[in-house]
């Protein structure tokens, strides 16, 4: 096999292509509002990036064309509820690009995953809008607050489980009619496998993240199946696959040594379950990733591979 | 009341003893400040700072008698390094003391030298070799380029020659590489 070389913009483009299936699944279940969110996010991201680059006195075109801003925008757009009002995604992307990326010195210098920083900002600041997912096919109108939202929204499986458990129900008694999450996760899984095959992401982080998630949830499930969901449930619900292949693998903010990547991915998997099960938020990818971002310099330092001849 | 006071007193006493013991037991032999300052100074020994050498200047900085921006050979980088060591605001290099020049060494014009040995006495690092009425030479590796031999030479036979990079000492410019 001959080694081929791919440029940074090509890498970013490939990642965006790999998202197509998952996004398609979202469109099937939530409607075209998903695409409108993505479009809004991309426009905001590019404008914000261009503006900041101009203020920093840096050539705009090459940095704008590297595709990283677009990728951040798309990731954030598919992470938030598709019926969230338009200003949610605009604010989130602005925060991600300006505070999460450019203030640290732009691409390559941000210690945190910008998309997840934007997400965490939105979740903490606007919890109501950030947790209302459409229960069925919905039009674009809700984004621009033109239709009554309340009547149409529902909870995700994760949210529903949490609420029911608090009400004293046991897992076995719950029934899930919502299969949208499963198909969306499958879509992202297929995209992720494509990235692995193209050798755009290394296998370490996705594999160890899934492993951490399954192990942690498995242990809890074995302890008490009636109050903890099964590993399979965790795998196909929430943003698991998106996190494993697209979010945690953001190279800039992830660990770069082989062993470091394993530790990093595994820890994210474990933290996701810990927050999902014991925390106050239904899903936990953003916080898990951000928490582990903090530890990356430490992990990288202590997991340096053995050098030839040492 | 008495209980509280006595408990606190005993506590203070015990903790004080522990601290006192720790201070002796885990004492860190710190590098004295003067040595740390001296390590940053370029050791040109040129006296442009108005002190008779780098160490006297280091002592003056340590005792607060001199500013940190009086060393032209150390350049702005040197001033910044001193500011960081002493944890003070950095200053601009004081132009009154001279300007930063590239590294140079003294070369004696053998035809002109009369062997007066004045340069030998002026050189702060004993880089000159020679004796009375014979031609004097400079040990290139020892010369710091301080210029102190220039004013004392009665026949102006000393030239300061800039040290040019060779194939072995060439440092590529990293600024050219960064296009971003």
């Amino acid at each position: 096999m001959r080694d081929k070389v791919m440029g940074t913009n090509q890498v970013m483009r490939q990642v965006i292509y790999a998202l197509v299936l998952g996004v398609a699944a979202q469109v099937v279940f939530f409607g075209f509002s998903v695409l409108v969110q993505i479009a809004l996010a991309i426009v905001t991201a590019l404008s914000a990036e261009a503006l900041v680059l101009r203020m920093r006195g840096i050539q705009i075109t090459p940095s704008l064309c590297d595709g990283s801003a677009v990728l951040t925008a798309v990731l954030l757009a598919i992470a938030i509820p598709s019926i969230a009002p338009w200003w949610i995604i605009v604010l989130g992307v602005l925060f991600a690009i300006v505070f999460g990326k450019q203030l640290f010195g732009g691409l390559g210098n941000n210690p945190f995953n910008p998309a997840m920083l934007g997400y965490a900002f939105l979740l903490v600041s606007y919890p109501l809008q950030m947790t209302q997912w459409p229960s069925e096919f919905q039009g674009v109108l809700s984004i621009f607050e033109l239709s009554a939202v309340d009547a149409l929204t529902g909870a995700t499986n994760l949210d529903y489980t949490k609420t029911q458990l608090m009400l004293g129900e046991s897992i076995g008694a719950l029934t899930f009619e919502n299969i949208s999450q499963m198909w969306i996760n499958l879509g992202f899984l297929v995209g992720g496998i494509y990235l692995l095959l193209r050798r755009i992401v290394f296998w370490h982080i996705p594999l160890s993240l899934v492993l951490g998630l399954v192990l942690m949830s498995g242990v809890l499930y074995l302890i008490d199946p009636s109050s903890y969901s099964s590993p399979a449930f965790h795998l196909i619900n929430g943003a698991t696959m998106l996190a494993a292949f697209f979010i945690a693998t953001d190279p800039v903010s992830a660990s770069t040594t082989p062993l470091g990547r394993l530790i990093y991915g595994f820890s994210i998997g474990v933290i996701i379950i810990v927050i999902r099960v014991f925390g106050g938020y239904p899903d936990a990818v953003a916080f898990a990733v951000l928490l582990m971002n903090i530890t990356v310099p430490l992990i990288d330092y202590y997991t340096q591979p053995k050098v030839f001849g040492k | 009341m008495i209980d509280a006071v006595s408990i606190l007193s005993i506590l203070a006493l015990v903790l004080g003893l522990v601290l006192g013991y720790a201070a002796i037991r885990y004492r860190v032999e710190g590098n004295p400040l003067v040595d740390q300052i001296d390590a940053i100074l370029p050791q040109t020994q040129c006296g442009q700072c108005d002190f008779p050498g780098c160490r006297p200047y280091a002592e003056a900085i340590a005792s607060g008698e001199a500013e940190i921006n009086q060393c032209p050979p150390g350049g702005q980088d040197g001033v910044d390094a001193l500011a960081e060591l002493l944890d003070v605001e950095t200053l601009l290099l004081n132009a009154e003391h001279g300007e930063t020049k590239p590294k140079r060494i003294a070369v004696v014009d053998e035809q002109v030298c009369i062997g007066c040995t004045l340069c030998i006495q002026a050189c702060p690092v004993d880089a000159f070799v020679g004796s009375s009425k014979v031609m004097t030479q400079v040990i290139a590796a020892e010369c710091t380029g301080c210029d102190l031999c220039l004013p004392v030479c009665p026949v102006d036979c000393i030239d300061m020659v800039e040290v040019k990079p060779t194939l072995n000492t060439f440092v590529p410019n990293v600024g050219e590489l960064a296009s971003v």
Binding site: M1, R2, D3, V5, M6, G7, T8, Q10, V11, P62, S63, D66, S68, G106, L107, G108, N109, F202, P251, V252, T256, T257, P258, R261, D300, Q304, P305, K306, V307, F308, G309, K310 | D38, Q43, T44, Q45, G53, C54, R55, P124, V125, D126, A127, A141, E142, T144, P165, T166, L167, N168, T169, F170, V171, P172, N173, V174, L177, A178, S179, V180
Partner: protein, 505 residues
């Protein structure tokens, strides 16, 4: 096939394969420019003067220490200049060169000494000296003096002949082996004779089928084995080669000689054969001329010192502005123009049609460079610290183990010229180390001078004190003496007076 391998590296295709690998001997150049500096180490000292007539093979520069090799005239003719010329080096700096104008005769100096064909009867020392005086340096690119390397490897157990030629595009060793397979084998035998190794391994990448076939055919010596190794770039780096042949990892900071191995390029061995058996010092070499602006890559046997323009005149070059690169596409250096001459380590000249280099972007820490680094370093961390001139940290991340192979730069999706940064950091480290030694030295000398002045002052004071004391003592002594004299005088006077009185009475 070797049972060991190495991590990292790249499988690269020869971008400009040649239909046939022939060795073409080109006519003598009219003028040669011979540099006194050979890549690393000290300069040789010219021992001829302008206007002097020299013969081919005559020594024109000698050495004082073993970190460099002597230089020989590569044509016969007149020395026309000894001056500084621009070197084929990234810095574009000038260095001392001897220029000889040809008389067209190519008249050889008689170098012959006792041992020729029957080198078996010569002592290793005799042959060693012969190599030393023949100006042979590593022909693979580093240009390290061969005699010094042989000396370091005293008592080695294995001789490895590096015929991997792993840099894609370069074919000069392949051409040499196909043209002179017996010389290669004989050269190995000579070196085996002097270095004392029990066995020799000739390592060739498995895509050079013709060379492997020929060498196997001509090798009758059971101490020499010919080993085909997988074609993967950096297989020819010394440390990597030792590992993939013997499974031994040379310790960080060490050399092949530390593990009892002597590594020599195959071109060097042919040069050793020429020097020892045929009495010809190193005055020519094979240069591959290739690149996108050349219709058919060629391997030319060239006299050292011939100008690039002269050599390129024998290749079919597309007219117009072209980019020149010396040595391989991975480790070579881009040069401005063609005003250079062939030196002992010029193995290849690339003539490429100008292409716009993609601008470097920010490092996204993707880690592609980690996976290809044959030294198993973390190139992105090295880049981070090199860029910010944080040498201490870069050294911490094993900057000095980097072999500058260029794999990381090649795969970098952001097109960062990583190796350039490492070269910068290494040069800066050298400079800082040197400066540190100089400052410490200056500090010590200054402090000693202060001490000496103080001591002088004190000594002078003590001396003054002693003198004063001595003077005082002397004065006191004088006084006593004077008094004694006076007393004596007195007594004499008194006696005299008494006598006079008596007489008068």
């Amino acid at each position: 096939m070797s049972k060991f391998t190495f991590k990292g590296g790249l499988v690269l295709e020869n971008p400009f394969p040649a239909k046939e690998i022939d060795l073409i001997r080109i006519p003598l150049p009219d003028k040669v420019v011979l540099p006194m500096q050979q890549r690393i180490g000290e300069q040789a000292k010219p021992c001829v003067s302008v206007g002097e007539h020299v013969l081919t093979g005559q020594v024109i520069a000698t050495i004082d220490d073993d970190r460099c090799a002597p230089v020989h005239a590569s044509i016969s003719g007149t020395v026309v200049a000894i001056d500084n010329q621009v070197m084929a080096h990234q810095s574009g700096l000038k260095a001392l060169c001897v220029t000889i104008e040809s008389d067209g005769e190519d008249e050889w100096i008689d170098n012959s000494v006792a041992c020729t064909e029957n080198y078996d009867f010569c002592t290793p020392d005799t042959i060693y000296n012969k190599i030393r005086l023949s100006g042979i340096v590593g022909m693979g690119g580093a240009g390290f003096p061969t005699h010094t390397k042989v000396q370091f490897a005293e008592g080695c157990h294995t001789l490895i002949v590096n015929a991997t030629e792993c840099e894609p595009g370069i074919m000069c060793d392949d051409a040499l082996m196909q043209a002179y397979p017996t010389k290669v084998i004989r050269g190995v035998e000579v070196l085996l004779h002097i270095c004392g190794a029990e066995k020799a391994i000739i390592a060739i990448e498995d895509d050079k089928k013709e060379s492997i076939k020929l060498l196997k055919k001509f090798c009758k010596n059971e101490r020499i084995t010919i080993e085909a190794i997988p074609t993967k770039y950096t297989s020819g780096a010394e440390k990597i080669l030792v590992k993939s042949l013997l499974g031994i990892e040379i310790p960080s900071g060490g050399y092949a000689s530390d593990v009892g191995v002597l590594c020599q390029n195959v071109g060097t061995l042919v040069a050793i054969f020429d020097a020892v058996v045929e009495n010809r010092p190193l005055i020519s070499r094979v240069v591959t001329v290739t690149g996108s602006a050349i219709k058919e890559p060629k391997n030319l046997q060239v006299r050292l010192g011939a100008s690039y323009d002269y050599v390129l005149g024998f290749a079919d070059i597309d007219p117009g502005e072209n980019d020149i690169r010396m040595a391989g596409m991975m480790m070579g250096v881009d040069l401005k123009g063609t005003d250079y001459s062939i030196s002992k380590n010029t193995n290849c000249i690339f003539v490429n049609k100008p292409i716009e280099k993609a601008a470097a972007q920010e490092c996204i820490r993707c880690g592609m460079c980690n996976t290809v680094c044959p030294m198993e370093l973390l190139p992105q961390q090295l880049y981070w610290y090199s860029k910010s001139s944080n040498i201490e940290k870069a050294l911490d991340y094993n900057l000095l183990d980097c072999i500058e192979c260029g794999c990381c730069s090649h795969v970098c999706p952001s097109n960062i010229p990583l190796v350039d940064y490492y070269q910068f950091a290494k040069a800066l480290n050298r400079q800082q180390t040197k400066e540190k030694v100089q400052t410490d030295n200056a500090r010590e000398r200054f402090e000693f001078r202060e001490f000496r002045l103080e001591r002088n002052k004190q000594e002078r004071a003590e001396m003054m004190e002693a003198k004063k004391k001595a003077l005082k003592e002397k004065m006191a002594k004088d006084k006593v003496q004077k008094e004694a004299i006076a007393a004596a005088q007195e007594r004499v006077n008194a006696a005299k007076t008494a006598k006079e009185l008596e007489d008068a009475r």
